[in-house]
Symmetry: C2
Subunit: 312 residues, 2 copies
């Protein structure tokens, strides 16, 4: 099935202890779309500036991503500069220049209006609601958000939570939304506030899924070297939502598999610099890593009795 | 089979946001032994002061733990005071009074010399080596350590690593020993330095196991409320090592099950204050939580193809 995603496209200047990349194609919609493109047709609604070239666009179109919803505005594309330290969990932001993204007002092409799967990337909650209002009721709606909106637009965000099926956020965002420090408590509280499903992404520590009567926990895929953590969460979302749209079913088993596919996509993303890890994957690469992940996690039934030794 | 453990017994003053407990029986050997007692016979070698009562001892003996190796020295039992904050991952130490533990020189009763399973708790590496030297070669030797020894006694610690089968440490300790920030790198480096198996404990984020050609990752058991994180790592070790001694086999499948049993024990420990969560478990409690953990983690084979959508 086809997914429509609305979010940011950016040029990133990223420095890690081992590498430096300038003007890398990035942004949450880019990472999400590339990851999802291995599973579903993807339509992207975003804004870029007049510095965005045909070569930049072809990174998306080469993966079959439809860019009919890509608006070209006068001015500069959103750009971001940041640096990761030897502990790759720590990032310093050097600059954020919103450019044309500052006044982003998504224009949805007519033929996008009946897209069955909608992923609302991390944009203002009001704009997320606006996009949702324009579409014929999609089959499944997922959204992301961030601390800026959690603190600045709590009312609109609360409306978003009531209107979506799935919320995918970082653990710290889940804590900020709910005021719960315990992650199990935060996850349960999220599904009380609207979405049927909440996914908490914990970076290198994996992810948790909560739904009524359902809990699922998955560790991250072990990597000996992480080249660039940028886009990990968006790639996870792309794999997760891509899988649900490909299978058109949200059974417990499918939600679990979707979490594993998200984990696999995030691992390919961070293994290489920028988006490059998401560009040349074969079906075999993906299947092999899925099976490898499975083999790292599964364990068999217990074969012993507890307690007897206490009576020795 | 029977386990001998050498480590600390302490009285803990623990404050959490919700509770305060004074003179709680604690220490690494206490938590380890209580958890392991559900799986194996346990012999404890430790030192306590003249403030250690028969009631304190009966907490151990009630679980069938042999205290013939418990030395009573003149002076005070090791005592610790600490406080957890609303983020239970953060602990402030208020005091550490080593008391009789300062000059601990383990005395191994004669009938302990042929104990087949040895767990060297977090004591000076030189003393760990001394204990190991006194025993007839045990079938399996595991050890723990801490930053104090990693920084202060690197040579003796290196000898310990060469002499043991299994090292169980926190993720930050693994990073400190190896100088590797990447946990997969740190785990692999540890097994290059001696032990056949390395277990990295990540607290609420679960644990990783490394051995030649083997990797296993397990998340922690999800708890809506953690009463007191004290002793989680030692309870994990007790469950893990207890299972290996109960089954007398270190196949890949058994190592995985041992990690799950450790996870289960740690969850029972932190769910209640002090050691109380480890005192009244039934075989059914333990089996049920093991199966629950399994159900939170497992996922099925993939049932779709990747890629076709890129050619739309």
């Amino acid at each position: 099935m086809t997914i429509l995603t609305v979010g940011s496209i950016a040029f990133d200047d990223i420095k890690t202890p081992d590498a430096y990349g300038m003007r890398q194609l990035g942004g949450s919609a880019t990472y999400f779309s590339l990851a999802a493109s291995y599973l579903a047709g993807v339509r992207i609604v975003a804004v870029v500036g007049d510095d965005f070239t045909t070569d930049d666009e072809s990174i998306l179109t080469d993966k079959g991503i439809c860019t009919a919803g890509l608006e070209r505005a006068q001015g500069k594309t959103f750009s971001y500069g940041g640096e990761y330290h030897s502990d790759l969990n720590l990032r310093t932001t050097h600059f954020t220049e919103l450019g044309v993204f500052e006044n982003f007002s998504p224009k949805i092409p007519d033929h996008y209006h009946d897209t069955p799967y909608l992923f609302l990337g991390n944009i203002a909650p009001k704009i997320q609601l606006e996009v949702l209002g324009k579409l014929k009721r999609p089959k499944l709606v997922a959204a992301d958000t961030m601390n800026f909106w959690i603190e600045g637009e709590p009312r609109s965000l609360s409306q978003v939570l009531s209107a979506i099926d799935i919320l995918l956020v970082n653990d710290s965002e889940a804590q900020a939304i709910t005021g719960e420090t315990n992650l199990v408590g935060a996850g349960r509280e999220l599904i009380r506030r609207g979405p049927r499903i909440a996914v908490l992404k914990k970076g290198e520590h994996g992810a948790l899924l909560f739904s009524e009567g359902i809990f699922f926990s998955i560790p991250s895929f072990p990597l000996l070297a992480v080249a660039d953590p940028t886009g990990a969460g968006d790639s996870f979302a792309g794999g997760f939502f891509g899988y649900l749209s490909a299978t058109e079913e949200q059974s417990v088993g499918n939600l679990r598999r979707a979490m594993a596919v998200g984990t696999v996509m995030a691992s390919f993303c961070v293994e290489k610099f920028g988006v490059s890890g998401l560009l040349h994957l074969s079906s075999e690469d993906l299947h092999n890593r899925y099976r490898e992940l499975q083999s790292y996690i599964s364990f068999q039934d217990l074969d012993i009795d507890f307690i007897p030794h206490q009576r020795e």
